[in-house]
C-alpha cells in the first residue's frame, strides 16, 4: 500500500515521484524499464527559448531537472543575449548517458521512494475515486493517488516507411490496454504523432565541411544553486550544415514512400506544427532552397550524432540516400534510422488546473499523455502533479500558478482551457506577460511557493531571502548616489563611450539610459554585489516603463481570475447562454471568470450572464 503511485519514469514521472516522496509521501514509481529512467529519446538538449525558463522555474520550485542538467552538460549557451532580458533563455546539450544516470541516482537516494519495473494495464477505481493500479500480470497495488506519466507508451506505434510496429522508442513493449481502459472510464482519447531524426556514427562524418557552433565562453547554470560541474573550455561543439538540392530531389522523388505521405494509409495521429518532418518542410516551403540542420553530440560515452531538423518517416533505403546527400555526411554510417511514433493521449480539457482529472478523483496526469511535447514541458507538469497530488492527500489547496507567474502556469492553463490539437510546445509567444516571466527572476517569482510546499530547504530559502534583500538595498541606494558633472567623472564616462553628464544625476536615473551598463558604475557603489543582483536591479530600472505596463495588464487578468465560479454551477440553468458557449463551459468547467473568458467561443454576453447567475444563486443569502 502506497500513498502515491507514479506510472512512468520519464521526465514527468521523475519529477512527480521526487516531489511526492520529498514531501514525505510513500511513493512507488512504476516503469517499463529501469534503464529508461529519465531517458532522452529525442534530441540531446535541455532548455531553449521558453523551455530554458521553465527549467529555471522547476528549480525555483524545488524540482530536479535544472540541477540534473547542470551535472550533465556537454555545452551551454544563453540564447537571445543580444535581445531584451525577457526572451533570454539557456539552452544546453546534455549527455544522454549522464543525465539519466544522475537522475536514477537521485531517485535511488530519495527516502520514501521505491522503483518497480512493470507495465500497468488498468486502474482500480471505486466510486469515481482512484484506489490503485493493476499490472499486466494481474497484480494489484493500492494507493491513495495515482499520477499517470506514460509518455508515448500508450498504444505506441513506430512508423518507418510502409511499416508500422507496435513498440516504444527503444523497441520496448508499450501499454496496449491502459488507454482503452481510460476510454471506458470516461476519458476522450486522442491520437498524436511525433518523430525523431537519424543518429550518425561520429567518426563517419567529415566535420571540415560543417560550421562549428560553440557554447558560451562563460559559466552558466540552470539551477539557482549555481554549482558548476563542467569546464567551459572543454565544451563539446555542435555543427551546422544545410540540405542540398539533391536532398530535396530525393525527397520529392520518394514522397509517396513516406509513412505520412501515403506509405501508410491508416495514420490518425496529428503531428506537431512546430516540428515538421523534412518531407513536410520541403512540401510546404517548396521555394526554400535549403534547410538548416544541426549535428548534435549525444554523449561522450558513445559516438552517435543527432541530426536536428531531419526527422522523417521515409523507408530506410531512402533515408540512406538522403543522409548521404548532406555535406560532410557523404559516407556517414547511420546507427539508428529516423522514425515517427504514434501514441494515445487524453483530452487535456478533462483536467483541472491542478492536473487532477475531472473524471476520476485523485488521478493525476502529466507530460505527453496530456498532449504536450518536450522534456521540459513534461518535467514541469510532473512536478506540479506531484505537488498537487501530495497537497490533495494533505487536504490542502492545490498550487496553481497563474499566467503572469510562470510559463508553467501558461502551459497548464492552455492545456485545460484551450485543449490541444497537435502536440503542444511552449513558446515565448504563448505568454502574454513574458516580460514578467524572465530567466533571471524565476526564483523571485516562485521560490516562496517552493518553500511553502516544502520542496525548498530552509537553507536555500534563507539564501534566497538574502538575495532579495540585497536587491532592494541596492535599488534604494542607487536612488541616493548622485554623480556630478566633475571632470574626472565625465572623463571616466567618456572612456566608456558614454555621453558626458551636464547636471547632477542619480545612478538610478543614469542606468535608465540605454547605453549605460550597471557593471560600469560599480566603482560608484559603496558595496560589492554579485552579478545576478546587479543584473536584476538593472533590468528593473532600465525597463521600468515596460514592466509597469505589463504589471497593469497582468493585474486586470488576476482580478478576473480571482472571481471564482462555484464548482457545482449548473450551466443548463443559465438561460440565454449561447449553445456553443454552454457546451464548452460544461466540458471545461472553468474555475474562475478569468479562465472562462479565455475559452474560445465564450463571449462577453455569456460572461455577464454567468456573473449574474452566480450573484443570484450563490450570494443571495449574504446580502
Amino acid at each position: 500500500m502506497y500513498e502515491i503511485i507514479v506510472v512512468g519514469g520519464g521526465h514527468a514521472g521523475c519529477e512527480a515521484s521526487l516531489a511526492s516522496a520529498r514531501k514525505g509521501h510513500k511513493t512507488l514509481l512504476i516503469t517499463g524499464n529501469i534503464k529508461n529512467i529519465a531517458d532522452m529519446p529525442c534530441n540531446p538538449s535541455i532548455g531553449g527559448s521558453a523551455k530554458g525558463i521553465v527549467v529555471r522555474e522547476i528549480d525555483a520550485l524545488g524540482g530536479e531537472m535544472g540541477r540534473n542538467a547542470d551535472k550533465s552538460l556537454l555545452q551551454i549557451k544563453m540564447l537571445n543575449s543580444a535581445k531584451g532580458p525577457a526572451v533570454r533563455a539557456l539552452r544546453a546539450q546534455a549527455d544522454k548517458i549522464t543525465y539519466p544516470k544522475n537522475m536514477l541516482k537521485t531517485l535511488n537516494n530519495t527516502p520514501n521512494l521505491e522503483i518497480k519495473e512493470a507495465i500497468v494495464e488498468d486502474l482500480i477505481i471505486e466510486n469515481n475515486k482512484i484506489k490503485g493500479i493493476v499490472l499486466e500480470n494481474g497484480e494489484k497495488i493500492n494507493s491513495d493517488a495515482v499520477i499517470l506519466t506514460t509518455g508515448t507508451y500508450l498504444k505506441a506505434d513506430i512508423l518507418v516507411g510502409d511499416t508500422r510496429t507496435r513498440q516504444g522508442p527503444h523497441g520496448e513493449k508499450p501499454s496496449n490496454h491502459l488507454s482503452d481502459k481510460l476510454k471506458e472510464y470516461g476519458f476522450n482519447i486522442i491520437r498524436l504523432k511525433t518523430g525523431t531524426p537519424q543518429r550518425i556514427e561520429k567518426s563517419s562524418i567529415d566535420f571540415s565541411k560543417t560550421k562549428v557552433e560553440l557554447g558560451d565562453d562563460r559559466y552558466w547554470t540552470f539551477s539557482f544553486d549555481n554549482e558548476i560541474y563542467y569546464d567551459k573550455d572543454k565544451q563539446i561543439p555542435c555543427h551546422l550544415i544545410y540540405t542540398t538540392p539533391i536532398t530535396h530531389q530525393i525527397i520529392r522523388d520518394n514522397l509517396n514512400k513516406s509513412s505520412m505521405y501515403g506509405g501508410l494509409n491508416d495514420i490518425k495521429g496529428v503531428g506537431p506544427r512546430y516540428c515538421p518532418s523534412i518531407e513536410d518542410k520541403i512540401v510546404r516551403f517548396a521555394d526554400k532552397e535549403r534547410h538548416q540542420l544541426f549535428l548534435e553530440p549525444e554523449s561522450i560515452y558513445y559516438d552517435d550524432i543527432y541530426i536536428q531538423g531531419f526527422s522523417t518517416s521515409m523507408p530506410k533505403n531512402i533515408q540512406e540516400q538522403m543522409v548521404h546527400s548532406l555535406p560532410g555526411l557523404e559516407h556517414a554510417k547511420i546507427n539508428k534510422y529516423a522514425y515517427a511514433i504514434e501514441y494515445d493521449a487524453i483530452d487535456s480539457k478533462q483536467l483541472k488546473q491542478s492536473l487532477e482529472t475531472k473524471v476520476v478523483e485523485n488521478l493525476f496526469t502529466a507530460g505527453q499523455i496530456n498532449g504536450t511535447s518536450g522534456y521540459e514541458e513534461a518535467a514541469c507538469q510532473g512536478l506540479m502533479a506531484g505537488i498537487n497530488a501530495s497537497l490533495k492527500l494533505e487536504n490542502k489547496e492545490p498550487l496553481i500558478l497563474k499566467r503572469n507567474e510562470a510559463y508553467i502556469g501558461v502551459l497548464i492553463d492552455d492545456l485545460v482551457t484551450k485543449g490541444i490539437i497537435d502536440p503542444y510546445r511552449l513558446l515565448t509567444s504563448r505568454a502574454e506577460y513574458r516580460l514578467l516571466l524572465r530567466h533571471d527572476n524565476a526564483d523571485i517569482r516562485l521560490r516562496d511557493y517552493g518553500y511553502k510546499v516544502g520542496l525548498v530547504s530552509e537553507e536555500k530559502y534563507n539564501k534566497f531571502l538574502q538575495k532579495k534583500k540585497k536587491i532592494e538595498e541596492l535599488n534604494e541606494s542607487l536612488k541616493t548616489i548622485k554623480l556630478t558633472p566633475k571632470k574626472e567623472i565625465n572623463d571616466y564616462l567618456t572612456s566608456l563611450g558614454i555621453p558626458e553628464i551636464k547636471d547632477g544625476i542619480t545612478l538610478y536615473n543614469l542606468i535608465k539610459r540605454p547605453e549605460i551598463k550597471i557593471e560600469n558604475l560599480t566603482k560608484f557603489i559603496d558595496k560589492d554585489y554579485d552579478l545576478e543582483i546587479l543584473e536584476q536591479v538593472e533590468i528593473n530600472i532600465k525597463y521600468e516603463g515596460y514592466i509597469s505596463k505589463a504589471l497593469l495588464e497582468a493585474n486586470k487578468m488576476v482580478d478576473l481570475d480571482n472571481k471564482k465560479i462555484p464548482d457545482d454551477i449548473d450551466y443548463d440553468k443559465i438561460h440565454n447562454l449561447a449553445s456553443e458557449a454552454k457546451q464548452k463551459l460544461k466540458t471545461i468547467r472553468p474555475t474562475s471568470i478569468g479562465q472562462a473568458i479565455r475559452i474560445s467561443g465564450v463571449n462577453p454576453a455569456d460572461i455577464s450572464l454567468i456573473m449574474i447567475y452566480i450573484k443570484k444563486e450563490y450570494f443571495h443569502e449574504s446580502k
Binding site: C42, A50, K83, Y274, S429, D559, N576, P604, M611
Partner: protein
C-alpha cells in the same frame, strides 16, 4: 469589471441638455482631468459643480457636474454625471474626451448590470436584467458589426496582417534564434514598416472625421465684430429652412445652436452671441474666445460690415482663419462702402436688408463641402465614437514604438507596443483570436527539429 465606463444617458440630439454618465473607481479622477472648475477629487459627495469641460485648455462646453461617491449611487460605484448643453457634436466630443482619458464605452445595459452585480437592484429583478442584457448585447454586437463597414474592416484587416507578419518575424527570431537563414527583424526595419501603417491609420481617421461631418453636420460658426449683422444672417438662414432653434433660456450659456439643411448638408450653426457681451467688457478676451471657436469649427462664416473700416483685431482674425474652411461675408452692401476690399482675397457680398446674395452664400457652402462625392465613393471610415477612440489609441501605441526605437530598447520591448496596436485594431473589427500569432508563425516560417 473594475474599469470605468461612460455613456450618454439621454437620447442624443433630443432635448435641451444631455447627460453623460461615468461609473467606476476612476470616474472622478478621469472627469477631473477634463474639467476646469473645482477640484472634483476634493468636493463632497452628492454635489453639483459648475465649470467647463476643456481639451488642452480649450473650452468645449460649460457644464454642471454631479459627483456621487460610492456606495450611495445607482451602481454603488463612484458616479459622475456631466450635464452638457445638448447638441450632438458637443455631447459626442465630451464622450470622446472621456474615452481618450481612460473610460471605456459602456455596453448597453451595463450600468444596470453593475447596479445589479453590486447589489443595488433587488434580486427579484434578476431574470429581467438577464434578458435585458442578453437582448441588448446581441443588439449591440450587431450594431458594432454594422458600424464597421466592410471596406474599412478590410483595410484594418490588411493593417493587422502587416503587423502580424512583423510580429511573427520577431517571434520566430526569439523562439528559434538558431535559425540563421531567417531574416533578423531590427528596430530600423520596424520603423520602416510602420510608416505606411501609420499613414493608413491617419488616413482612416481623417476620413472618419469627414464622415462625422456628413452624419453629424458641419460645425459652423458665425463670427464677427458687434453689429455686423451676424444674428440677422443666422435668422435669415434659419427662417428659410424651417430649422429648429434651441435657445436655452435662463442659463448663462453663450452659444445658440440651429440646424439648417442645405441640399442634404446639415449645418450646425453656432452664433457667437456671447462674444459680443464679453466684447463689451474686455475686448481682448472676446478675440481669444473667437480664436478658440475657430479652432474647433468645420466652417467659419466671418462677417464684416461694408459700412466700416477693417479693425486691427479683425485683421488678426482674418489671418487666423486663413488655414481653415471659411467664407468671408461682407454684409450691409445696401449702405455706403467704407471697407477696403483690397485686403480681402475672396468674399461674398450680401445685404440681409435687401435680400441680396443669400443664394450665392448657400452655393458657396455647397461647393466647399462636396460631400456627395465623398459619401458614395469612399467607405473607408469609422463611424462610431468607440472605434475612432480605439484607432486613436492604436496611434499612441505606434508613438510608443517610435519612442522605444529612439531609446534603443531591445526589439522584444518594442514588440510589446506593436502587439498592443495589433490587438487594438482587432478590437475594432471584433477579432480576438489569441492563437492567430502562433498560426502565423508556423505558416510563415519553416522550423523544426
Amino acid at each position: 469589471m473594475n474599469d470605468t465606463i461612460a455613456a450618454i444617458s439621454t437620447t442624443l440630439g433630443i432635448g435641451a441638455i444631455a447627460i453623460i454618465r461615468v461609473s467606476g473607481n476612476q470616474a472622478i479622477q478621469i472627469v477631473n482631468k477634463i474639467f476646469k472648475g473645482k477640484d472634483l477629487e476634493k468636493v463632497q459627495s452628492h454635489t453639483i459643480n459648475y465649470g467647463y469641460i476643456v481639451e488642452n485648455d480649450k473650452i468645449i462646453d460649460e457644464v454642471l457636474v454631479s459627483v456621487m461617491k460610492s456606495p450611495k449611487t445607482f451602481t454603488k460605484e463612484d458616479i459622475v454625471e456631466i450635464n452638457t448643453h445638448g447638441g450632438i457634436a458637443i455631447t459626442n466630443k465630451v464622450l470622446e474626451l472621456l474615452l481618450n482619458n481612460g473610460c471605456r464605452l459602456a455596453e448597453p445595459g451595463e450600468f444596470t448590470k453593475r447596479a445589479f452585480l453590486n447589489g443595488r437592484i433587488d434580486l427579484i429583478e434578476a431574470e429581467g436584467v438577464m434578458d435585458l442584457i442578453n437582448a441588448k448585447t446581441e443588439k449591440a454586437r450587431n450594431l458594432a458589426i454594422n458600424q464597421v463597414n466592410g471596406e474599412v474592416s478590410k483595410l484594418i484587416r490588411n493593417l493587422r496582417q502587416k503587423i502580424i507578419e512583423i510580429l511573427a518575424n520577431i517571434e520566430v527570431n526569439i523562439d528559434y534564434p538558431e535559425y540563421e537563414d531567417i531574416e533578423q527583424m531590427t528596430n530600423e526595419m520596424i520603423l520602416e514598416n510602420i510608416k505606411t501603417i501609420e499613414e493608413e491609420v491617419k488616413n482612416i481617421l481623417n476620413k472618419s472625421e469627414n464622415m462625422k461631418i456628413i452624419k453629424e453636420g458641419i460645425k459652423t460658426i458665425i463670427i464677427g465684430s458687434p453689429n455686423v449683422g451676424k444674428s440677422s444672417i443666422l435668422n435669415r438662414l434659419l427662417n428659410e429652412d424651417k430649422a429648429i432653434v434651441t435657445d436655452i433660456a435662463g442659463t448663462t450659456r453663450d452659444i445658440v445652436e440651429g440646424n439648417i439643411k442645405i441640399d442634404g448638408i446639415i449645418l450646425n450653426i453656432i452664433d457667437t452671441a456671447g462674444i459680443r457681451k464679453t466684447d463689451d467688457i474686455v475686448e481682448s478676451l472676446g478675440v481669444k474666445k473667437s480664436l478658440d471657436l475657430i479652432n474647433e469649427a468645420d466652417l467659419i462664416l466671418y462677417v464684416l460690415n461694408n459700412n466700416e473700416e477693417i479693425l486691427e483685431e479683425e485683421k488678426e482674425i482674418l489671418s487666423k482663419i486663413n488655414s481653415k474652411n471659411h467664407i468671408i461675408i461682407i454684409n450691409k452692401i445696401d449702405l455706403d462702402s467704407k471697407i477696403d476690399k483690397s485686403l480681402l482675397k475672396d468674399y461674398i457680398e450680401i445685404s440681409i436688408k435687401n435680400d441680396i446674395g443669400i443664394d450665392e452664400l448657400k452655393n458657396k457652402i455647397k461647393e466647399m463641402f462636396n460631400l456627395e462625392k465623398l459619401d458614395n465613393q469612399d467607405l473607408t471610415y469609422l463611424s462610431s465614437a468607440r472605434s475612432i477612440s480605439i484607432l486613436k489609441k492604436s496611434l499612441e501605441s505606434l508613438e510608443s514604438v517610435k519612442e522605444g526605437v529612439k531609446n534603443k530598447m531591445p526589439i522584444d520591448m518594442i514588440e510589446i507596443d506593436l502587439k498592443q496596436m495589433w490587438s487594438l485594431l482587432g478590437e475594432i473589427i471584433g477579432e480576438t483570436y489569441t492563437d492567430e500569432l502562433i498560426d502565423q508563425l508556423f505558416s510563415q516560417f519553416c522550423l523544426g527539429k
